[in-house]
């Protein structure tokens, strides 16, 4: 390295080197004790508010209760519902919209007809959630169904989620899907899920911080699934839009009772236009691009769900189906049978009680996997008379 010539010595003027910088203006400057106090107060309120809330907010469930469609993303409420099922004799049915009853009213669901078979009103509890699928079910069971311990649980396995790479969420193309906050955020990787790191981390935090899940409950139940602040800016969709909430007090929105589903849901039940056999919807037979069990993300998630429940000491019964075989193109059936047999073989190998109900008559399906009211009735009868089911129920 060259030596510096003497003429290059800089003549540095005296400068105020790193002098004391004012803390700030309008100081909200806390010392350690003040921080402890502030965090203590905030922490205590964060902990007890949801607990106190559920003491005051009336949550009427009763026989055939299912979490209302509009509250499908209210996982705090779902957890509360599960916590309500304290009687160990009660059996919770877990699953997607097939268990929940997409086309039927609460008194047309599988749990209702199982109760009917059992001569009880609420021995079987509808723990289904609209829009769920195994990857999301894993999150629901892991974080919001913790009270499900040492009891009998029925889990429905819907092969619909393996009918295509898109349904399996294993495509590389970005997809928008329901319950994205419930799916594994980092591992295993879901290739079509492209949320950024912040969204993923915030989902992880929300699952683990009860207060945030409770805030989400308030948003879902009283603020049209919006944050309180966004709600004050909501428009009515008109042209030009009006903003009806501008001058409303957000607190006045909060009621003392959890909103319930409409008594006669126009979208569901025998009187609804949607409640009709699939063949009358103009839909022809379908050719599915079945995903191999070995590579199916949804199947692996389902296996993990069973694992979680069994690890909690639950006595699990799996209902495989009822998938609508009539909707399948003929050449598509061998692949379906291979998948169904593969699932059954795994369940047998793991010594998990299971029933594979016979396919229902074609006119009792509304689509590829959802039965109509009578379909559920027949399915419940099938289950009730099945030896495996009886053995499982009585053990």
């Amino acid at each position: 390295m060259a030596t510096r010539p003497p003429h290059a010595q800089p003549e540095v003027k005296p400068a105020a080197l790193s002098k004391e910088v004012p803390f700030g203006v309008n100081e909200v400057r806390l010392n350690a004790w003040q921080w402890l106090a502030a965090l203590g107060i905030a922490g205590l309120l964060l902990l007890i508010t949801p607990w106190i809330w559920q003491k005051f907010e009336v949550f009427t469930t009763g026989p055939d209760y299912r979490v209302p469609y509009q509250l499908s993303k209210d996982y705090w409420l779902y957890g509360r519902r599960i916590r309500q099922v304290t009687d160990p004799g009660k059996i919770v049915l877990l699953g997607d919209s097939v268990v929940w009853g997409e086309y039927v009213l609460p008194d047309g669901t599988l749990s209702h007809f199982l109760n009917q078979e059992a001569g009880a009103t609420d021995r079987f509890v509808n723990g289904g959630l609209n829009g769920l699928f195994p990857l999301a079910e894993e999150g629901l069971v892991s974080f919001y169904s913790r009270p499900l311990r040492h009891r009998k649980v029925i889990v429905q396995c819907n092969v619909l989620w393996m009918t295509s790479p898109k349904a399996d969420l294993s495509t590389d193309k970005e997809e928008q899907f329901n319950h994205s906050r419930l799916v594994p955020q980092f591992s295993p990787r879901i290739p079509c899920y492209r949320a950024d790191a912040n969204e993923r981390l915030s989902a992880v935090v929300q699952r683990n911080v009860n207060f945030l899940a409770w805030v989400s409950h308030l948003q879902n139940a009283y603020f049209d699934q919006k944050s309180f602040l966004a709600w004050t800016l909501e428009d009515d969709g008109g042209s030009p839009p009006r903003y009806p909430n501008s001058y409303r007090n957000p607190l006045s929105q909060i009621a003392s009772e959890v909103p319930s589903a409409p008594a006669d849901d126009p979208q569901r039940g025998p009187r609804s236009p949607r409640h009709k056999p699939w063949s009358e919807t103009g839909q022809g037979t379908t050719r599915f691009e079945w995903v191999d069990l070995d590579s199916s993300l949804q199947w692996k998630a389902f296996q993990r769900v069973i694992g979680i429940l069994r690890a909690r000491g639950d006595d699990v019964m799996v209902i495989l189906g009822p998938f609508n075989e009539h909707i399948m193109a003929e050449e598509n059936r061998p692949a379906f049978h291979k998948i169904r047999d593969g699932i059954e073989a795994w369940l047998t190998q793991q010594q998990i009680a299971h029933v594979v109900p016979e396919t229902l008559p074609s006119q009792l399906y509304a689509d590829a996997s959802h039965p109509l009211t009578e379909g559920y009735h027949r399915l419940a009868t099938q289950l009730w008379t099945s030896e495996s089911f009886k053995t499982w129920l009585n053990r």
């Binding site: 060259a2 003429h7 400068a15 921080w35 502030a38 965090l39 602040l229 009006r242």
Partner: protein, 533 residues
């Protein structure tokens, strides 16, 4: 990476423990540099090249400047060129390096991919200047290179498209058969033409070091890592405060003393900043966006209120960012300068600029206004210098005519309030509150140009504020309550009530309330406004 997002919290949870565990080794500084580069690269790793390039060049330019005599000397050019006889070996190597680089650049331009040619041409200019700098042993040329390089980066990435579009409009209007191509066509190897986040901040910070060294206001930094950390120190890399070398660089000389107070103060600043951003700025943004995106659909009250809401939004957004930046730096033992001081309580526009974005205002004062002559050459020259400084400051904020007008309006405003302040009647008789209201209203008026999507939108908004019908503005009452509360708090803090607000009980209650409010009401993400600058 944004301060108010979870990834930043994870980043901090990794960076801080490692940083503290390395405090007794020399590795804490490389770790800080690495963390800062990671922080910047999270947004777009390719633009790290830009930060690194700017840092390396300015570091070496100052080193070369240090090898040149402060007073001009007569140089025997012929001897230097023919016999390579330099008094200083470093300058000789620099000259040889420049020649070698020139050959390499020419080779790449001729034989390399065609898309490399514009970049090579730009490098060619820098290398040519470097050759001249070595040949003449001229400090001024090294400074010129730093200025050209940093300003060229800024001009190309921030203003090139604006300039090209305007020139093309002009040539079309004059029927000249010339049409300049979009600057994205000049990007090397087909890379994307994006505005690098924080470019206006890190180039200004780096530039201030070379200028300060040239004028003898700062020592030469011999440790490259220290200088690199100064340029890219992650808390203030994206949106300031624009630090001066003499303030921040010495803080990297050794591991700073970190006491419990650093954590409590840092957390206090961070919490307030987070609250300003998430609870206030992001909420106000909803209403501002609604109105400013479709100004023709709204009446005068909505436009007025949205303008005021934007004035508060940008204040909460930017000062919130600064608070968080200062808080994070404090956690690590560093002090960043104060950037905001209740600007909306200013009684004059000059005072407003000594309270708003203080680090930028002082940058322009020291590197534009004073070099232009400051207030030393009579009133007219002073006013010209003031106006030019604000005009350039407007352009610094963005490549659009709206920013140019915004800067010009502030320039005019400063001249007017300065003139008013000279009159004893205004200075002594006009109540302080009246002056504050005047400044506030003027600043709010100028925000119209700052926020509007285009110049025509801005003019439409101004026109409609005065002519449109008075419809219900439909601004959420909660928003007005929040703004009023903040204003009242600021006023109370500047009054005799300050002592009450400083009591333990009030501070604890405020912090607890802020935490709860954030958990309950935060309105989600949204980048900081000043990132675009």
């Amino acid at each position: 990476m944004l301060f108010h997002t979870w990834p930043f919290l994870v980043f901090l949870a990794v960076v801080l423990p490692v940083y503290f565990s390395l405090r007794k080794t020399f590795l804490w500084l490389p770790w800080l540099t690495l963390a800062s580069y990671f922080f910047y690269g999270w947004w777009n790793p390719y633009y790290l090249i830009l930060v690194l390039y700017s840092t390396v060049l300015d570091f070496f330019l100052v080193a070369l400047m240090d090898h040149c005599p402060r007073e001009g000397r007569k140089v025997n050019l012929l001897e230097r060129l023919t016999r390579l006889r330099f008094e200083d070996r470093v300058l000789k190597f620099a000259f040889l390096g420049s020649v070698a680089a020139a050959l390499g650049i020419t080779g790449l331009a001729v034989f390399g991919p065609q898309t490399l040619r514009p970049t090579m041409a730009a490098f060619g200019v820098i290398v040519l200047l470097m050759g001249l700098g070595s040949l003449y042993s001229s400090r001024r040329i090294w400074l010129l290179i730093s200025l050209v390089n940093n300003l060229a980066l800024l001009l190309f990435f921030k203003y090139a498209r604006f300039v090209v579009e305007n020139l093309n409009t002009l040539t079309a209007w004059l029927h000249f058969p010339i049409k300049l191509s979009d600057p994205s066509t000049l990007m090397p190897l087909g890379s994307e033409y994006l505005l690098p986040v924080g470019i206006s901040f890190f180039t200004f910070q780096s530039l201030s070091y070379t200028i300060d060294f040239y004028f003898g206001n700062v020592h030469r930094e011999r440790n490259f890592l220290r200088f690199a950390t100064f340029v890219c120190f992650f808390p203030q890399l994206m949106a300031g405060p624009i630090e001066r070398a003499r303030h921040l660089l010495p803080q990297f000389n050794q591991f700073p003393p970190v006491r419990l107070q650093n954590f409590t103060d840092g957390a206090s600043l961070f919490l307030v900043g987070l609250f300003k951003k998430l609870a206030l700025a992001n909420y106000l943004a909803f209403y501002v966006e609604r109105v400013y995106d479709n100004p023709k659909d709204f009446g005068a009250p909505a436009l007025l209120l949205a303008t005021v809401a934007f004035g508060w939004q940008i204040f909460f957004d930017f000062s919130g960012y600064t608070d968080m930046a200062r808080g994070v730096a404090k956690l690590m033992g560093f002090n960043l300068i104060l950037n905001f001081n209740n600007p909306y309580l200013a009684t004059g526009l000059g005072e407003f600029w000594s309270r708003w974005h203080i680090s930028l205002s002082s940058w322009f004062r020291d590197y534009v206004y004073i070099p232009l002559g400051g207030n030393k050459n009579g009133t007219l020259r002073t006013y010209r210098n003031l106006f030019l400084t604000f005009f350039i400051s407007g352009i610094w904020h963005g490549a659009a005519w709206t920013f140019v007008i915004w800067g010009a309006l502030h320039g005019l405003g400063v001249l007017i309030t300065r003139e008013l302040e000279r009159s004893p009647v205004y200075r002594d008789r006009v109540p302080k509150l009246f002056k504050q209201a005047g400044v506030f209203l003027f600043v709010m008026f100028t925000w119209i140009f700052f926020r509007a999507g285009s110049l025509s939108d801005a003019l439409l908004i101004v026109q409609r504020i005065f002519t449109a019908a008075w419809h219900d503005p439909q601004i959420p009452a909660l928003m007005l309550v929040l703004i009023a509360m903040v204003w009242l708090y600021e006023l109370a803090y500047e009054s005799r009530l300050r002592d009450l607000l400083k009591t333990s009980g009030v501070r604890v209650a405020m912090a607890a309330l802020m935490v709860l409010y954030l958990c309950l009401c935060s309105s989600g993400g949204g980048a900081f406004i000043y990132f675009q600058f």
